[in-house]
Assembly symmetry: C2
Homo-oligomer: 204 residues x 2
DNA sequence: AAATTTACCGACCACTTGGTTTGTGCTTTT
DNA sequence: AAAAGCACAAACCAAGTGGTCGGTAAATTT
């Protein structure tokens, strides 16, 4: 176990800078050499730890991306409060950190979904699985909200979840250009307006 | 002018198959040779008509993409009817054609925005300009709707336009995997629900 | 008919790609 | 101290990459 420490450390270093570069330049547009130059390592080191560039990327998804999605988008919406508040606050926060963080890792998924679509089914499956996890959690959160009287009982929870994910993916695409702050502000405002229309009027 | 006909025809052929391949595989992941093989043409032909791969892509944006956006997303929402209906119908139709058309060209913008972001400012400018045109038209359509009593006067037209674009971009990303039809259906339903909440209650 | 231009061919170039292989210093085990 | 394995270096490879360039058949212009 002791001896594995160095191995793990190097692999982790490779993964984090790999993710940063893949996120910045895209997977196909980032060469293994680019990553190694940044790390001061050689080809030998890379192919000692990972069997291919693709394998390397999948390990990044499993070790870094999934966890980030959990901590940023799933854990914050667990609980028994009004899910409409939890979700809108969670998304607002995610967009805020995305704004200030150069390599926010925030929604990498958006970039990668576009890049691998139709080109790499295996990686697409991983990416879609991560999205699915988020979706499932959104749906169950909304359903619980119905049960607890926060959400109007006529609301189509699956539809709302899809709509939330869609708009979030989209706004993350738009936010990359200039006025991210203004855009985030308007986006969150509209999201809350949309949520308000589906709140249970009895309680709210 | 006569002599230009052949030139124009060849260039157009190059542009359409170029767009199809760029859309399918991405810009950086499609080589000039790939396009030429599909066309049965040679390198000489390509660099006779276009001065670079990038120049070629920009010509595609100017000649094909801009027009498609106009005909699919802008012209359909012009008119004096209820903009909320016009817009939701227009988007539904755009998603429908996207569904049935392998190379729908529907929202290529989404893919390319992701691919060129941070990598090619010049092309990004073109892409953002196209988006901006759509946004401006959405805003003015909504404002006219306010004036004509279709849209509640408290509505933030810029915010709504951003939100529409965001969700559209996002749903186009999601639609590439499996169940596009179901997703489109739920998406449009939510969009209409969202629109209903901002309709002017006096008239609607 | 001669001269010139158009539209294209295909070999070639320098360079980059993901990946392999051989070798080597260091640490751990025996 | 010898043997074995670990973590990496560095040279190397075939297959591409965008782009150049000399050539050429056919069409236009003179």
């Amino acid at each position: 176990m002791e001896k594995n420490l160095k191995r793990m450390a190097t692999m982790h270093r490779m993964q984090t800078t790999g993710l940063a570069l893949f996120y910045k330049n895209g997977f196909y547009n980032t060469s293994v050499d680019d990553i190694l130059k940044e790390l001061g390592l050689s080809k030998g080191a890379f192919y000692y730890h990972f069997k291919s560039k693709e394998d390397f990327f999948i390990s990044i998804l499993e070790n870094l991306v999934v966890r980030k999605v959990y901590s940023m988008l799933i854990e914050p919406i667990e609980g028994h409060d009004n899910p409409l508040d939890l979700i809108s606050n969670c998304i607002e926060e995610a967009l805020q950190t995305a704004e200030h963080n150069e390599n926010d890792y925030g929604f990498i998924l958006n970039n990668f979904l576009n890049e691998f679509n139709g080109r790499n089914p295996q990686i697409m499956k991983y990416l879609n699985d991560i999205l699915k996890i988020w979706e499932v959690n959104l749906v169950s959160s909304l359903q619980k909200g119905k049960f607890n009287g926060y959400v109007d009982r006529h609301v189509d929870c699956e539809g709302v979840a899809s709509y939330i994910i869609s708009s979030f993916l989209g706004v993350r695409t738009l936010m990359v250009e200039g006025s991210a702050t203004a855009l985030r502000y308007r986006y969150v405002q509209q999201l809350r307006f949309y949520f308000k229309a589906m709140a249970n009027k009895q309680i709210a």
